[in-house]
């Protein structure tokens, strides 16, 4: 511990306020860029934990009803379009790659790398949403929307499946929209040369968020789309 000067209030040492050059992006309440980066990263991880708990409630409801109504669950799953879901899975995995490359580009200071990869990430995210739109439209056409036009000939618990389907994928899609919004901001900043080896925190934490949204989909896809094939039954 550094030499401390005794003061009238014994027990806490004081040193003169350090005068060193602050990075222009260092906020005043932090004493170093390292501390700022560590705080932002820890903050994003804590936030992602809250998101896990948020989606967790949905997974709990899904688990309970799947245990109670396996046949309705299989039937519901078989009504989903595995091709579109699979395509979306591939799209998101690719977007996580481009996101990671964007973070890397920021860390090494490549402005072109950041811009290209962020644009690709945004485009892939938008593709996901477009495919989602077509999927939802198909559900409307096939009378699979609870509370609106759900086919009464189908087993009633299948409505629970579809309620959860729309809510789970809908909230996920909302997170994608927010993610794209964040990436647009990152893109503008990256294009202006804001990030480099000494300051890339925002890109990194945005990347964490994007990867998280991708991982949620990695769970949703098999649970919703592949369940019917796994349980081996056709629809009711």
């Amino acid at each position: 511990m550094a030499d401390v000067h005794a003061s009238t209030a014994a027990g806490t040492g004081v040193v003169a306020h350090d005068v060193h050059a602050h990075h222009p992006r260092q906020q005043h309440h932090f004493y170093s860029m390292d501390q700022q980066l560590e705080a932002s990263t820890l903050g994003m991880w804590v936030f992602l934990v809250t998101e896990i708990m948020f989606f967790g409630g949905l997974f709990m409801a899904y688990l309970l009803y799947r245990y109670w109504y396996p046949e309705a669950w299989a039937a519901g799953s078989n009504h989903l379009n595995v091709l579109m879901g699979g395509l979306n899975t591939a799209v998101l995995i690719c977007s996580s790659l481009t996101m990671a490359l964007a973070v890397r580009s920021a860390q090494v200071g490549s402005r072109m790398g950041q811009v290209v990869n962020l644009i690709l990430t945004i485009l892939l995210g938008a593709t996901f949403l477009v495919v989602k739109y077509f999927e939802y439209a198909e559900k409307f056409k096939h009378h699979l929307v609870p509370g609106v036009n759900f086919d009464p000939a189908l087993p009633r618990p299948e409505q629970l499946f579809f309620s959860l389907y729309f809510i789970m994928t809908g909230i996920h899609a909302l997170h994608m929209v927010i993610g794209i919004g964040i990436m647009l901001v990152m893109l503008v900043w990256a294009a202006r040369g804001r990030f480099g080896p000494s300051y890339y925190g925002p890109v990194e934490v945005s990347g964490l968020y994007w990867h998280f949204v991708d991982i949620v989909w990695i769970f949703l896809f098999p649970l919703l789309y592949l369940l019917g094939a796994h349980l081996g039954h056709g629809g009711a």
Partner: protein
């Protein structure tokens, strides 16, 4: 008490910068704390008015003051406002926001703008709540149980659920800010075991906030989806289970009660140390007990479901863990008492609030054991016994701790002293009024008076009248408090930096009130908390 003449401090966070825009766009954690203090006081008053309506109706056995539907809205809104808009933010958003950075030796929280955002979310949630009140009210009970809330209620359920959702998001942001601050912004030399116990308590509270609150958010989302979009989730006619709602709801709402009491326990630790001028007895045990309560608190939610058709084996598990969660609270209480042994105890006003807390929290916590006991809970659940139990903890415990902390830190936060005799009188009025209001309710509960009743059999009247009488005294106590605290802002004696002669960074290293960046010089810590025995006391 003080020896040197005290002048108005220069450049406190209150004066510079000036103007309402500088307050509404502030990033200063201290200003945000004051913004919260004003907002939660307003909602406390609104919630209190609803309580007044409840107690007035219950003076007579017949429902003659207001129609049944109105009464149902009164108790529902009393609960929603007091829990989501007063108790949950209370200590963390006011005393926590103000003192967490100072106590860790930092210039601000880790994310000042997110802190401001959390206040705006609180205000938006509050406005939505008022819109719900104006637009038909809410009559589902603060617990929003289905299918009544999704299918039968004719009130502004979705709007009210949105209000709670928004307030919850505000709470998540506060918790997440505290966690990062405590982990990453402690001053050099400030190891975990040198932290004030208030910080340990806020840390444990923040863990609960971030892990639990998202679950109520998704539960309310499912409720709104079922009610407004017609998506069946809990509808028994489709095969859904109303009890699933109860599990999801209580998974958050039980830990929520620890969000409401843990900060209060942190305040009490600070006050007991300062009042006794002594190291808290068993510091590590008190610190770890906060974490134990936070963790165990997530494992007991099923004790709200003993008569709901939950499996009796699940009941066994929840009951035994509920017994376990009581133990750390008992440990804290014994440690506080042991701290006073061979202390140097003052009888200034904060002591009154602390002693009041001890008595009321003891009764509240012990009566939890009655409810945790399975067979007995069959008789007591859904009766006034439960109402009395939770008010003893949330009002007798949490609010007394909040007011105790507010008084203790008032000179630091505002630079003013409040009038001592009135503060003591208010503490006594609150204590007496509180007991008179809620103790009869234990008796009513065992007699069998159910909750949420606006009409009742005549043999319950005497106890109800006593309860309403107590509520009047309680209200006077709170009212008095509000009056002299407001008065002190302009007319109170100017406070020195350390009127209590207490130890702690906030007392020893900052002015009263502090400057915008808290400290004049960077802080380095070389001693444990509450190191009274090692040093001489300094006032002023």
């Amino acid at each position: 008490m003080t020896t040197a003449p005290v002048q108005e401090p220069r450049n406190s966070y209150l004066d510079a910068p000036h103007g309402i825009a500088s307050w509404l766009l502030t990033k200063d954690h201290k200003r945000i704390a004051m913004l919260y203090l004003i907002s939660i006081t307003i909602f406390f008053a609104i919630g209190g008015l609803f309580a007044l309506g409840i107690r007035l109706e219950l003076l007579t056995p017949k429902g003659d003051l207001v129609p049944g539907d109105t009464y149902n809205k009164l108790f529902t809104l009393h609960g929603v406002i007091m829990i989501f808009f007063f108790l949950i933010p209370s200590i963390p958003a006011t005393l926590g926001n103000f003192f967490v950075p100072i106590m860790v030796g930092a210039k601000d929280l880790a994310f000042p703008r997110i802190n401001l955002l959390s206040w705006y979310l609180y205000v938006i949630g509050g406005i939505i709540a008022l819109a719900a009140v104006a637009g038909g009210g809410l009559d589902t009970g603060w617990t929003f149980y289905t299918p009544y809330s999704t299918q039968a209620s004719q009130t502004s359920v979705t709007l009210a659920a949105m209000a709670a959702f928004t307030a919850g998001f505000s709470s998540i942001l506060t918790g997440f800010n505290f966690i990062v601050t405590i982990h990453r912004m402690r001053a050099p030399g400030l190891t975990w075991f040198r932290l004030p116990l208030f910080i340990w308590a806020q840390y444990a509270t923040s863990l609960v906030m971030i892990l639990g609150t998202p679950v109520i958010a998704i539960t309310l989302t499912l409720l709104m989806a079922e009610r407004s979009l017609g998506f069946p989730i809990f509808d028994p006619k489709i095969g859904g289970d109303p009890v699933l709602f109860q599990h999801l709801f209580w998974f958050y709402s039980h830990p929520a009660v620890y969000i409401m009491i843990l900060p209060g326990m942190g305040v009490v630790s600070e006050l007991v140390a300062s009042i006794s001028r002594k190291q808290i007895f068993g510091y590590a045990f008190v610190a770890f007990s906060s974490l134990a309560i936070a963790i165990l608190g997530f494992l007991v939610w099923g004790h709200h479901l003993f008569v709901s058709s939950q499996s009796i084996y699940a009941g066994l598990v929840f009951s035994i863990i509920t017994m376990l969660v009581a133990v750390p609270s008992a440990v804290k209480t014994f440690n506080w008492a042991a701290t006073m042994y061979k202390g140097a105890i003052t009888w200034e006003s904060p002591t009154y609030w602390v002693i009041g807390f001890m008595g009321l929290f003891l009764i509240g916590g012990l009566t939890g054991l009655f409810l945790a006991t399975l067979g007995l809970d069959i008789h007591l659940t859904d009766t006034y016994f439960v109402v009395a139990h939770f008010h003893y903890i949330m009002v007798g415990g949490a609010i007394m701790a909040f007011l105790g902390g507010l008084h203790f830190w008032w000179p630091k936060m505002t630079g003013r002293m409040y009038p001592e005799p009135l503060a003591k009188a208010s503490a006594i009025l609150v204590f007496v009024g509180f007991n008179l209001t809620f103790f009869p309710q234990f008796l009513l509960g065992y007699l069998g008076m159910p909750r949420r009743y606006h009409e009742y059999p005549p043999e319950f009247q005497v106890l109800n009248v006593a309860s309403t009488g107590g509520a009047t005294i309680l209200g006077l106590g709170y009212g008095l408090c509000l009056v002299y605290l407001l008065w002190s802002l302009k007319k109170g004696q100017i406070a020195p930096a350390n009127p209590w002669g207490a130890k702690g960074l906030e007392w020893e290293k900052t002015q009263s009130p502090p400057t915008t960046f808290n400290f004049d010089e960077d802080v380095i810590v070389t001693e444990p908390a509450y190191n009274y025995a090692g040093t001489k006391v300094h006032h002023g």
